[in-house]
Symmetry: C2
Subunit: 149 residues, 2 copies
Amino acid sequence: MATRVALKASAARPDLTSVLEDKGYRVTGPRLNIIRLLGKKNEGFSAEEINYALPGVGRATVFRTLKLLLGANVICKLTTRDGGVKYSLARVEHHHHTVCVKCGTVGDFRDVTIERLLRTLGDEIQGQIVGHRIEVDVVCPSCQKASRN
Amino acid sequence: MATRVALKASAARPDLTSVLEDKGYRVTGPRLNIIRLLGKKNEGFSAEEINYALPGVGRATVFRTLKLLLGANVICKLTTRDGGVKYSLARVEHHHHTVCVKCGTVGDFRDVTIERLLRTLGDEIQGQIVGHRIEVDVVCPSCQKASRN
DNA sequence: CAGGGCTATGAGACGTAGTATCATTAGTGT
DNA sequence: ACACTAATGATACTACGTCTCATAGCCCTG
């Protein structure tokens, strides 16, 4: 059945637990705790952050749950310029990220042109394209403002 | 005087040691060994690989030298789909990478349109763009051929 | 060419991100 | 209520790096 709700940015978030149910995973205490925490975070977050915020939940479980959500395309993982790792809620189906190099805030963007471009790039690229990662480093508006002082 | 030679793919590679000299770093034995090894590799390589190939050179030195070369834009670092890390020689000034999801071979491509596109994306992106990472996952021609059997 | 000074090195401890193992616990279907 | 299985936490381990520190090696100056 699995009515997959079309995610709309900043609309009332469909509760993420349904994602687990849909995939046949159990909805357990630790998972709920993690998911609830993520629901509150609008910016990127690290695994350690969650681990710290939920002392009752084991580190392994945090990573396991993140992996699960990653597989369900509910969150996504990104690499910052300095090689760090961040996770972020996936608000829209397919998108890319901006990461502020000053404060680390993660933003989303989607530009169909990029997808199209990558497809047409097939000529220039040897082989068959099966995926891609695009991350844009930015200085976010508030950091720009701050540095102007 | 640092005559910066325009790098051309598969042309006789200008010896990478000049990069060290240009930046005021010493051209030492371990560095030479690493650089010579890189010169032979046309595909991506990992730090561990170099470490293994040069038993006389310490692991820290391998990483230190890679960092040095990274800073000199002689090599670049990329993340594969599975979260692994690869380094690759930077043949052209600014470019992006294709990584074969089967065999891990790294290729380069450069498409000016992407740079232009990212610039014009400024409207859609909050903040000022200061950099980006683009990685394209592919199935390379030889792996395609192999799987057709 | 001897000496001094600074750079680079290797060994190994340490840090961070994540996975594997394994005994225990907790959902779930009947 | 019970048994079956999935999930959990603790902990060890791996990958990829960085930090520290004592030692070695360049290289400049006298």
